[in-house]
């Protein structure tokens, strides 16, 4: 082995040298004949986006470059410049863009293994090699002899289940010197630095003389290996002692890739205790070493170990039933013979392909961030596709891969192209149901007959079949694991094709799988009654017989398989995919133990509990009916299966189209998704009656949403928008009435802009719930253009009011069921003359009409132009407020309403987010629109995650985003369009189903931001930050097509409030990541931290507003609507004000008075967050930092002050507190100051 280590150690130097020589020429040197392999018929290979320039052009360019550079003769600068030009050109062709290449380079540099560490561990590997050579050979032993040999030893033989018994075991065990070599990434020099350490796989191949031809049957070779490993372990531990290495070296058994049939020995170091650790102590390198015991290549006939063969012969009652195939067992045996073969295969490919290793590293990172590994996915978790599988696939694609064996990848490709090629292949080619890929790992020369080929025949299991070794590389992968991989590959392909946004960090840097609740929409913890094994056994034993045992090997595998299948069948298209994880699964165990857990004692499973993780399909998840097969006279097998599966739930129903179908009907609930009830039902029915399925998290989040006081609201799904539709319907009626009125100027448009029109109001619209701050929904009224509008703002507003008066008159005389009144509107600062017409509809909704003319904008702009310089900022703010309220609101509402149909969970998520903001007293400072735009980020710009499919998932992603948003450096640029899939669907239906849309057409029709628009917005941000580098004036730059300036909704937020939002989100995410989601942590999320403020004032209003806000209390019977809630408007409209929130006005005036020195916050939705009755509020105050110290006395100080000496003053807090207390008077119940 020493030689092999050395030989491989010298490789990188060669490779390095080769690389250096060829970097400059990598593309231009691409052999033309390789290009000819590109067969456009299927799977066009990755074509660099920018690389389609005309040939002549290119040569011309080169001339110019040469001329350009030679003109400035031989200067050093010229040389580097031409070199740079060369690289710049080349990368533009070979990589997505220059910056992408530079990013890749930087990333690869970052994750490089430290040379020092490699040397250190290699030193130990040499030593280990010597030690292994010292192990004495053995004599042939019977099992009884083996047993007695290990009887008094510390080491146990890690026999796999079922343990052999001496009576029936008539083959012999032995130990002869193994052939030792390094395999895996370390051997290929493709390893990377990993903070948790990585393992070095060392293969010890048992000599073939230890085996007989038929040893592959019935675990024989596996038992031989177990004894072999135990003997080796025994002597190794003695030798380690002898060489005085045992003080820091630790050894334990482990299962290779979690395969319970493949025990290995793991060697790792403990932390050095002394200052001068042994030279062999490689603790710091964080490596561990796996001793994998393999079988000689082709020692067994590979054909007999094909996935469809049975190799575990069990006694059976009737001979007619053929034994089931044992693919997992076969794979375990067969792949033990092929380790070295694949090393050679990959090594050869690496030699031929310059960027192979770099692409491997990219692949490894990509997989890691998404939670994929080479581990068995049959016992839960994502797996079966790690770096090894990625590289083998890449190698296969370098040698063909298309349906005509055409090459998918070329040896001259850059790392980016190789990576993208593999991702594209994974995303677009089905290797499971529709087809599979076969390749030859021992092809000496790439003759076409041995090229990889995609075969249109699927085996219903992920298949990457090696014709040479008969191994299916993807055996370790389950179907559900494969589906997830495919989905992520698809998402990544979209990111790679995205030329507008920089997706680098989303592809490689973000760890998607760090937190289950972010990655999946719904998670269920399933507790099986572990203590009473027998109970569970009773229900499982009937299904987990010997046939299943040989097929699935372990009960865990069987259980995972079963739960996955049940969930898939039961949930159908309600979910996108499902994953089962065994929480607490172990794969390492001490050398004194036979296996990872014992059969004795209560716990019979290798896990604590199961976690069922689902990715939801939002469009289908809440449908009421699970449809089964159609009813027929004679029961079809399908129908029988359906009936049997659902039991009492199954029923026959006749549908509108007359068809009669077997189906199950579910009921929705405001606090639980339908999926929860289904999962609960099927697991109890099919796994165990005692299985406890818990998902209180979802319930808890749902219950945070205010429950509207509407009939059967408790049984209304969170996705149900009917309360909003009712409001819209009422508006439509009113709309028609107003449109038909005869007015001096005819109505041009009536535009709804209120938040309920875009489904984002915190409380759902409830008739007559006029205490809700969102009760009166804004509507903008435009008349046909007229030059006669007054050219001065006050008069203009008066003129507008005159029109509104006309409308009111008309309404009162002709429509007595409608009530209306006027109020002054204060939404535009300094414009005190705005009057709105508030109309109450007979259906119980309220609309607030305001008039927009073509002259308003001009007048506000003119005010800026005319104002003194020191007033300009104030007037600019006024202009922004006007634009937001009157102009942009129309686009914003229309846009959000439109796309929210494509993002079903957006409405509940944004409403929950608003509730969260209001709980933390932030909603008074942050406009509705800003909150809505921030909350839509995880939907429209979801990469690298998937689009949220549950309330908690969306909400957590919003928090996660805010916590990570470095607004000082990064703008938030939103592409407010529907999801891609929805877009395609709508296009297809509008243009005619089946019509083929080419990509150019798609691009044209797409409403996505173009590159230049995106760049323009980025430029706006850069310019903004030039004048405000720390973001102290404007923190949140949130831009979209509706507002390319990015400042419309976010200017005027005080810096401490912005930082508080970020800090709160950070705390929340940290809390959840360290303590997980549970009742306490979720409650904490919604508990305001009032300790951080300088003073806190508790307020109480005489009248509780909860019921008049249309919210049901938790204590009440949820199916009975609240009697106290108003069911009509008061006769005298003056009485409306009695149930309005006085604290809002109090805070408004306090803010006006103290805006210079204090930041005051309070709750906006007193009905939601104001305690049980909705009569409580708080005002919290922060003293602006500037006013914490003394000031020189000036008349324009604008704050309440006390003199400290005859020249200086400080803020008179006492007096301010008295003023506030006097102002709030009876409403103030408690005043806390520090």
């Amino acid at each position: 082995m020493a030689t092999s280590v050395k030989r491989k150690a010298s490789d990188p130097n060669i490779a390095e040298g080769h690389k250096k020589r060829s970097t400059q020429a990598s593309t231009t040197d691409r052999a033309p004949e390789e290009d000819n392999h590109n067969d456009p018929v299927t799977n066009e290979p990755v074509v660099p986006e920018q690389g389609n320039g005309d040939e002549n052009d290119a040569s011309d360019d080169r001339d110019i470059t040469v001329k350009n550079t030679t003109s400035r003769r031989n200067g050093r600068a010229t040389a580097t410049e031409s070199h740079d030009i060369h690289i710049a050109r080349e990368t533009a062709e070979l990589f997505k863009s220059n910056i992408f290449k530079l990013q890749i380079d930087e990333l690869l540099e970052q994750v490089k293994l430290k040379e020092k560490h490699v040397l250190k561990v290699e030193k130990f590997l040499h030593k280990l090699y010597d030690i292994l050579q010292e192990i004495p050979e053995w004599e042939e032993k019977t099992l009884a002899e083996v047993d007695s040999f290990f009887k008094n030893k510390t080491v146990s033989v890690p026999f796999v289940d079922p343990k052999p018994v001496p009576q029936t075991t008539n083959y012999k065990f032995n130990y002869k010197k193994p052939d030792i070599s390094l395999i895996g990434s370390f051997a290929l020099k493709a390893g990377i630095y990993q903070p948790n350490g990585s393992s070095i796989d060392t293969l010890l191949t048992m000599p073939s003389e230890l085996f007989e031809k038929k040893d592959f049957l019935n675990f024989r070779c596996l038992h031989k290996r177990s004894v072999y490993l135990a003997y080796l372990t025994h002597h190794l531990s003695i030798s380690l002692k002898k060489h005085k290495l045992d003080s820091f070296l630790q050894i334990e058994y482990s299962y290779f890739d979690n395969d319970p049939l493949l025990p290995i020995l793991r060697i790792f170091c403990s932390k050095p205790t002394s200052d001068s650790p042994s030279e062999y102590n490689f603790y710091k390198t964080r490596f561990s070493i796996n001793l994998v015991v393999g079988f000689p290549y082709k020692v067994f006939e590979p054909k007999k170990l094909l996935p469809n063969r049975n190799c575990i012969r069990i006694a059976q009652e009737s001979k007619e039933v053929s034994l089931p195939a044992t693919p997992l067992y076969n794979f375990s045996v067969l792949s033990s013979t092929t380790h070295e073969n694949y090393l050679k295969y990959l090594y050869k490919t690496k030699k031929q392909t310059e960027s192979f290793i770099e692409a491997t590293v990219l692949g490894r990172l990509w997989l890691q961030q998404r939670g994929f590994s080479s581990k068995m996915s049959h016992s839960g978790s994502l797996g079966g596709f790690g770096t090894f599988e990625f590289t083998v696939l890449m190698a296969a694609l370098l040698n063909g891969g298309g349906v005509n064996s055409n090459k998918i990848l070329l040896h001259g490709f850059s790392s980016y192209q190789l990576f993208k090629g593999v991702i594209k292949y994974l995303a677009t080619m089905d290797l499971c149901h529709d087809g599979h890929l076969q390749f030859h790992s021992d092809a000496e020369n790439s003759s076409s007959s041995l090229a990889s080929k995609y075969i249109n025949e699927g085996f219903q299991t992920p298949t990457l079949f090696d014709k040479s070794t008969k191994v299916n590389i993807l055996t370790k992968m389950t179907v559900s694991s494969y589906q997830i991989l495919k989905e992520y590959a698809g998402e990544t392909l979209k990111m790679l094709n995205n030329v507008v946004q920089d997706q680098f960090s989303n592809i490689f840097l973000t760890n998607v799988s760090g937190f289950d609740n972010l990655k999946y929409d719904l998670c269920y913890d399933i507790q099986l009654p572990l203590g009473n094994y027998n109970d569970l056994e009773a229900s499982l034993a009937s299904t987990f017989g010997s046939m299943e045992r040989v097929k699935y090997i372990t009960l865990e595998n069987f259980l995972v398989h079963k739960i996955t299948n049940i969930a898939r069948y039961a949930l159908g298209d309600r979910i996108k995919f499902v994953q089962v994880e065994m929480v607490g699964q172990k794969s390492n165990f001490p050398i004194t133990k036979r296996k990872v857990y014992s059969n004795i004692g209560g716990n019979h499973f290798n896990f604590d509990f199961l976690r069922l993780k689902l990715s939801v399909n939002p469009a289908e998840c809440e449908k009421l009916v699970t449809k089964g097969p159609a009813h027929s006279e004679t029961m079809s097998t399908e129908a029988a299966v359906f009936k049997n599966f659902w039991g009492i739930k199954s029923s026959l129903r006749r549908f509108k189209d007359g068809s009669i179908t077997h189906c199950c009907v579910w009921s929705t609930s405001s606090s639980e998704p339908i999926i929860s009830s289904i999962v609960d039902f099927v697991l109890q029915k099919h796994i165990s009656k005692k299985a406890q399925v818990s998902n209180n998290i979802t319930k808890q989040f749902h219950n945070f949403l205010p429950l509207p006081n509407l009939p059967s609201s408790a049984s209304t799904s969170v996705l149900n928008l009917s309360s909003f539709f009712n409001l819209k319907k009422s508006f439509d009626d009113l709309y028609k009435i107003v449109f038909q009125m005869k007015l001096p100027l005819s109505v041009k448009s009536i535009l709804p802009v209120g938040s309920a029109f875009r489904y984002t109001s915190l409380c759902q619209p409830v008739p007559f719930a006029y205490s809700d701050p969102d009760f009166f929904q804004d509507v903008i009224l435009e008349f046909e253009t007229s030059p006669k509008w007054p050219d001065e703002i006050t008069s203009l507003e008066k003129a507008k009011t005159a029109f509104l008066l006309k409308i009111q008159e008309d309404l009162t005389t002709n429509r007595p069921t409608y009530k209306s009144f006027f109020t002054r509107d204060e939404s535009i600062p300094y414009n005190l003359e705005i009057v709105t017409l508030n109309i109450l509809t007979p259906e119980g909704y309220g609309f607030k009409f305001r008039v927009l003319t073509e002259r308003d904008e001009i007048l506000y702009l003119r005010a800026i132009a005319n104002a003194r310089n020191e007033l300009k900022p104030e007037l600019e703010k006024t202009f922004l407020k006007f634009t937001a309220k009157y102009l942009a609101s129309v686009r914003h509402t229309r846009n959000l309403e439109n796309i929210s149909h494509s993002y079903q969970f957006y409405s509940p998520v944004v409403r929950l987010f608003k509730k969260w903001l209001d709980t933390h007293l932030l909603l008074g400072h942050i406009s509705d629109e800003l909150a809505e735009l921030i909350a839509i980020k995880p939907f429209v710009d979801h990469a690298p995650y998937l689009i949220p499919g549950s309330v908690e998932n969306g909400f957590l992603k919003v928090l996660k985003f805010i916590s990570q948003w470095n607004w000082k450096d990064d703008p938030l640029i939103l592409d407010l369009v529907k999801s891609d899939d929805d877009m395609e669907n709508s296009l297809e239906t509008s243009i005619g189903a089946g019509s083929e849309l080419d990509s150019k057409m798609m691009k044209k029709l797409s409403e996505r931001l173009t590159l230049s628009q995106y760049k323009g917005i980025q430029m706006n941000f850069a310019n903004l930050r030039n004048s405000d580098p720390n973001g102290s004036h404007l923190q949140f730059f949130v831009a979209s097509k509706n507002d390319p300036s990015g400042i419309l909704y976010s200017s005027g937020i005080p810096l401490p409030i912005a930082t508080r939002l970020t800090a709160l989100a950070k705390v929340a995410v940290n809390l959840l990541q360290t303590h997980g989601l549970n009742q306490q942590t979720i409650d904490l999320l919604f508990t305001p931290g009032l300790k951080d403020y300088d003073f806190v004032i508790d307020l109480r209003t005489p009248v509780g507003l909860k019921s008049s806000c249309g919210i049901l209390s938790a204590t009440e019977f949820k199916n009975i609507t609240n009697d106290q809630a108003p069911s009509q408007f008061p006769e005298d409209l003056n009485d409306l004000s009695e149930k309005m929130d006085p604290t809002y006005q109090l805070v408004k005036y306090l803010n006006l008075k103290y805006k210079n020195s204090l930041i005051l916050s309070s709750r906006k939705y007193i009905g939601v967050n104001g305690g049980e009755k909705g009569d409580r509020n708080v005002i919290t105050g922060l003293i602006k930092p500037l006013f914490k110290g003394p000031h020189k006395f000036r008349v324009n100080l604008d704050c309440n002050i006390v003199p400290v000496d005859d020249d200086n003053v400080v803020l008179n807090k006492e007096a301010i507190f008295h003023e506030i207390a006097a102002f709030g008077n009876d409403m103030v119940v408690k005043f806390e100051t520090d």
């Binding site: 132009a865 323009g1016 103030v1228």
Partner: protein
């Protein structure tokens, strides 16, 4: 020197302390809380503002009645007479800080606006009826401000106007329709008069130095003409890069007629590519410095 000893600020302001009433929700301190107002005689050329005291930091919701009461108390204490006329420029909530109406109109003369008084927030002018009144009051204030140090108990207690619950909910009450109609009617009348007047002023011939008559068209207020003038004031486009409009000549000219044009263009492209490359390298350096390449963070 304690706070008590300060009766006059360096810049001539008298310190006028008040004791503050207790509130049930506020913790009671050992010493009574005080509010400090500052006063100075106001000097102004504006006839309207003669006989005024310049007040800084008035207590919450102060109005002329409060001031009258206070001056009455003060005069009573020091046996003197003083009469207050009105409280000027008291804009506690800053509602009138910006006069949008004046700013949006061409008609109200801008010359006016320059003369308009801008008093800082949290200040007001207290106008007395005559010279004697202000002097009497001033002298009494001087004495009063000394009280703080010697007899703090004798300081006046300020009585706040406390708005009731109804005050706040009254903000939600509907506007009276008749009042609204009347208000609009009168306002529009005034506006129309003003408009007519202004129109006349403009139309009436303006004769300049050289004897030429300036003629002004009727249509000075077309929206487009206004728009062009002030569009650059839009704060939303403040941070945009302004693109040069392409002139008609440029539009028509062929860009690839001469060989040198093609060559130049390619040269330019290469230079662009290069500069972009350099830029990218810089960006990467910055990102690297910020540790943006750690996949394990």
């Amino acid at each position: 020197m304690g706070i008590e000893d300060i009766n006059t600020m360096k810049n001539g302001f008298i310190v006028v302390p008040f004791r503050l009433p207790d509130h049930k929700a506020l913790p009671k301190g050992k010493e009574a809380s005080l509010h400090f107002m500052f006063a100075r005689k106001h000097q102004s050329s504006n006839a309207n503002e003669s006989n005024c005291l310049f007040l800084v930091n008035l207590p919450l919701l102060s109005n002329i009645e409060h001031m009258k009461k206070f001056v009455g108390q003060l005069c009573g204490k020091y046996d003197t007479v003083s009469h207050v006329e009105e409280l000027l420029h008291n804009d506690e909530f800053g509602l009138h800080e910006v006069d949008l109406s004046a700013l949006t109109s061409d008609l109200m003369s801008t010359a006016d606006a320059n003369e308009k008084r801008y008093t800082p927030r949290n200040t007001a002018l207290l106008k007395f009826i005559d010279d004697a009144s202000i002097n009497n009051c001033w002298n009494a204030l001087r004495k009063y401000s000394n009280l703080h140090a010697k007899h703090p108990k004798e300081l006046f207690e300020w009585t706040y106007t406390t708005p009731s619950f109804t005050t706040f909910i009254n903000f939600y009450k509907p506007l009276d329709i008749d009042y609204l109609k009347e208000d609009i009617h009168t306002h529009m009348m005034i506006f129309e008069q003003r408009e007519a007047q202004a129109q006349e002023d403009i139309q009436s011939s303006i004769v300049d130095e050289d004897g030429f008559t300036l003629v002004v068209g009727k249509n000075t207020k077309s929206l487009n003409s206004i728009r062009k003038k002030i569009l650059n004031k839009n704060p939303l486009s403040k941070h945009e890069n302004k693109a040069k409009p392409i002139s008609n000549i440029d539009k028509k000219a062929k860009q690839d007629f001469y060989r040198f044009q093609v060559r130049e263009r390619k040269k330019q492209e290469i230079n662009q590519l290069l500069s972009k490359f350099k830029e990218d390298q810089e960006r990467i350096k910055i990102m690297k410095a910020k540790r943006k390449f750690n996949p394990y963070s």
